[in-house]
Each structure stands twice: as structure tokens, then as C-alpha cells.
């Protein structure tokens, strides 16, 4: 925080924030609408032409990097502010006592806007259950929260347009809702670890969320940008760099042979490949774009992304502290089946 602002009243500081945001917004729009000119100018400076592989790769890099970073900064800020309205405590209160069905839909949707970190997956899980959120509804939330995340949606929107981002959003929610419903139907409460069952049978303190002012919400948004963009930008650069190389040099339809829509085993292979990977959306999507550009099927690639986010091995190891192996295995099997179906349906439809 800058020392000059410390002495000012909250109202003045909020005013300064809003003025800064308005200015930032104008600059953002101005920059975003000149991306093509910028990339053209850069290859012009290097004396390259887009007709050569090198020129095409460099253009790709200097077009996509500012575009993705701009989108990321803007959306992460907005989501950061929105998230202050959906603390885990608030979400839990909204879900508490909901019946299955509608509860699963609500839980999966709230998974998008509730701040979530896999390091607190277990406390969140138990916190939900202890407040009377059914097991299946809790799972809908836990599947949706990492999978349908804002970084993935921003990048899909930036690189493939709103249709693909919308499809990913819809399919991600569908997998989370249906998987939660199935797990709820299987009545697996006894496969929670004993210490969890003990906590659930007793009384647990229910911490309440804090009230924030608008100034604090904006500060949280800015902190969210610093945290997320600060963490993912090297991956964005690396991902786009790799994507640019593939874009310029790998022959057209190279990927079609083993990631194309006619290869029936490509979807399960993509899901299996996604499990041990634990990466953030930013690193993966530029590569994904380049793969699709060279003939990989969209359904296969989306299935791969969903598996990376929703079925990551490190997260399952964390959840193992609270769930017995049978429940973990059921969770993995149900979610994997859902993702496989999404992959096949996409490849078949598109």
C-alpha cells in the first residue's frame, strides 16, 4: 500500500480507486483493440514477413501474449471482486439443506465464483458436510470449482472465441452436476475417513464470513490479479512460445493422425495423460490452441483439459486424507466417465 494514501479517508481512497479503474479500463480497451497492429509493427521492425514460418511464429507470439495478458488481468480482477461476495461461508449457507438435484446445479454454479484453492479442499469439504450440505452436492462443488475456473475460461475465450468457452463452461457444469448426482445416489457417506465421521457427528463451530467495504473488495481484486497473474505469466509466455513454434513449423494436420476425431482411443488417452499433470490453465491453453490449429480434435483436447483440472493426482492425494479409497476411486471413475462422454460427444458433433 502506498504511504501517501494511508492518511486519506476511505471515501477519498475509494474515489481514487474508481478514477484509476476508469482510466485503466479506457487504456485496456484501447490496447485490446490494437493487438493486430502491434503484432504487425513488431514483425515489421524485425523485417519479417508473415509468409515465412519464422515471421508467422513471431507474429503469433506478439499477438497472443499481450492479448492473453490483457484478458487475464481484466477478468481476474473482476472475478476477484465478485468472489468477495461468495465467501466459502456464504456459499455453504446457500447450499445448506438443499435437496439433491437443484442443490447440485447450484453447487456447480457457485463453484465458478467461490474462491477455491486445492490446499483447503479438505476443510471446505468437511465444512460443507457439517452444515448439512449433502455429499453429492458437495462433490458437485468440488468438481466444478477447479475445473470451471476463470483462468481457463478467459484463455478459451481469448483463443477460440465465446462458443468454445461457453461449451467448456456448459460441459464442465454438466459433468460436475451429473457426477455429484451419481455420487449422491450411491450413498457413500460411510466411506468418509473415521475422523471426518466423528467431526460430523459432533457439533462444529461455524465461522461466519466477514463484511467487506467496496474499497476492500477492490483491494481484494487487485491482490487477486497480483497473485494469479504474478504466478501464471511465465507459463503464459512459455505456453505461447511453444504454441508459436508449433504454429510456424509443425505441418498442417500433423496432429490429426493421433489426436484427430477418427482416432477412437485419443479421448481416453488424453484423459489418462491429464491425470498426473498438475498445471495451471495458462500454461496449457496456448499449446492446446496450436494443437487444434494443426488438426487435433476439439473434443479430445477439451477432455484433456478437464482431466488436468478435475482429476489431478495431487488433489486426489490431498482428498485422500478425508475419503477412503473406495470413495476416491468412485469419484475418479464417475468424473472420468463424464469427461470421456464429453470428449466423444464433441468429436462426434463438431
Amino acid at each position: 500500500m502506498n504511504p501517501a494514501a494511508m492518511g486519506r479517508s476511505p471515501a477519498t481512497r475509494l474515489g481514487l480507486w474508481l478514477a484509476g479503474l476508469a482510466l485503466g479500463g479506457v487504456l485496456w480497451v484501447a490496447a485490446y483493440s490494437h493487438l493486430g497492429e502491434f503484432a504487425d509493427a513488431v514483425i515489421g521492425v524485425f523485417g519479417l514477413s508473415r509468409r515465412t514460418p519464422l515471421g508467422e511464429a513471431v507474429h503469433f507470439f506478439f499477438y497472443d501474449t499481450p492479448k492473453v495478458l490483457l484478458l487475464l488481468t481484466g477478468i481476474v480482477f473482476v472475478i476477484g471482486v465478485v468472489q468477495t461476495f461468495f465467501s466459502p461461508e456464504r456459499t455453504r449457507a446457500l447450499l445448506s439443506g438443499r435437496r439433491e438435484g437443484l442443490g447440485n446445479v447450484l453447487a456447480a454454479s457457485l463453484g465458478i465464483v467461490t474462491p477455491f484453492c486445492s490446499c483447503s479442499a479438505v476443510p471446505l469439504f468437511i465444512g460443507f458436510l457439517s452444515a448439512g450440505v449433502p455429499l453429492g452436492v458437495t462433490f458437485s462443488f468440488l468438481i466444478s470449482a477447479p475445473m470451471v475456473n476463470e483462468v481457463a475460461l478467459v484463455l478459451l475465450f481469448g483463443m477460440f472465441g465465446w462458443q468454445v468457452a461457453g461449451l467448456y463452461l456448459g460441459m464442465g457444469l454438466l459433468v460436475a452436476i451429473v457426477a455429484g448426482l451419481v455420487i449422491g445416489r450411491l450413498k457413500m457417506e460411510r466411506y468418509l475417513e473415521d475422523w471426518v465421521q466423528q467431526i460430523l457427528s459432533g457439533q462444529m463451530a461455524q465461522a461466519v464470513g466477514e463484511q467487506l467495504s467496496w474499497l476492500e473488495r477492490l483491494q481484494v481484486g487487485a491482490a487477486h490479479v497480483r497473485e494469479i497473474v504474478g504466478k501464471v505469466w511465465p507459463y503464459v509466455l512459455a505456453g505461447i512460445g511453444l504454441g508459436a513454434g508449433i504454429h510456424g513449423y509443425v505441418p498442417e494436420d500433423f496432429m490429426a493422425a493421433f489426436m484427430g476425431r477418427d482416432v477412437w482411443w485419443a479421448v481416453p488417452a488424453a484423459v489418462l495423460l491429464g491425470v498426473p499433470m498438475y498445471t495451471n490453465a495458462a500454461g496449457i491453453i496456448p499449446i492446446v490452441e496450436a494443437l487444434i490449429g494443426k488438426g487435433a480434435a476439439l473434443g479430445t483436447v477439451l477432455a484433456f483439459m478437464m482431466a488436468v483440472f478435475a482429476l489431478s493426482a495431487p488433489e486426489m492425494i490431498i482428498m485422500r486424507k478425508a475419503l477412503k479409497p473406495t470413495l476416491i476411486a468412485t469419484f475418479a471413475a464417475v468424473v472420468a466417465t463424464g469427461i470421456l462422454l464429453v470428449g466423444y460427444v464433441f468429436n462426434w458433433l463438431l
Binding site: M1, S87, P88, E89, R92, P115, C117, C119, S120, V122, P123, L124, I126, G127, F128, S130, W195, Q198, I199, M204, A205, Q206, A207, E210, Q219, A223, K321, A322
Partner: protein, 76 residues
């Protein structure tokens, strides 16, 4: 003398929170006992759902993310 507990299962944010509270306490010359709670049943007993959480003298004052410095200064 305040008894402060930081609840969290060893993530980077939890370590940052411990370090921040130590630094602020040292700066202000406030005597505290700082304890890091990593056991999940213990964390759950406080009803905290997002880590790191901060408990001062048995009361949860913060949950989810590293607290702002000004907030920590307010507690001490």
C-alpha cells in the same frame, strides 16, 4: 500476551501468514505466542473452511488467504 494460532496444512500462504504476524508483533513490541496448527481435525474444530485461518485467544478472526498487514496491526 496474545495466543495466536495459524491454521493451515503447510501451504505457501500459511507460511507467509506466520511470517507476517511475527514481523508485525516484533515491530509493535507485542508479546505473542504463535502456534502453527497443521492437523486437519484441529483445524476443523475451529470451523475454518479456507486456509490459512487465524485464531486469536480462541476466536477465529480471519480465514482464506494471507491477511492484509493493516488487519494484522489491528489485531495486535
Amino acid at each position: 500476551m496474545h495466543n495466536i494460532k495459524v491454521l493451515g496444512t503447510g501451504c505457501a500462504n500459511c507460511r507467509a501468514t506466520v511470517a507476517l504476524i511475527e514481523a508485525v508483533a516484533r515491530e509493535k513490541g507485542v508479546a505473542i505466542t504463535l502456534e502453527k496448527v497443521e492437523s486437519l481435525p484441529e483445524i476443523m474444530r475451529h470451523g475454518v473452511m479456507s486456509t490459512p485461518g487465524v485464531v486469536i485467544d480462541g476466536r477465529v478472526v480471519h480465514a482464506g488467504g494471507v491477511p492484509a498487514r493493516s488487519k494484522v496491526e489491528g489485531w495486535l
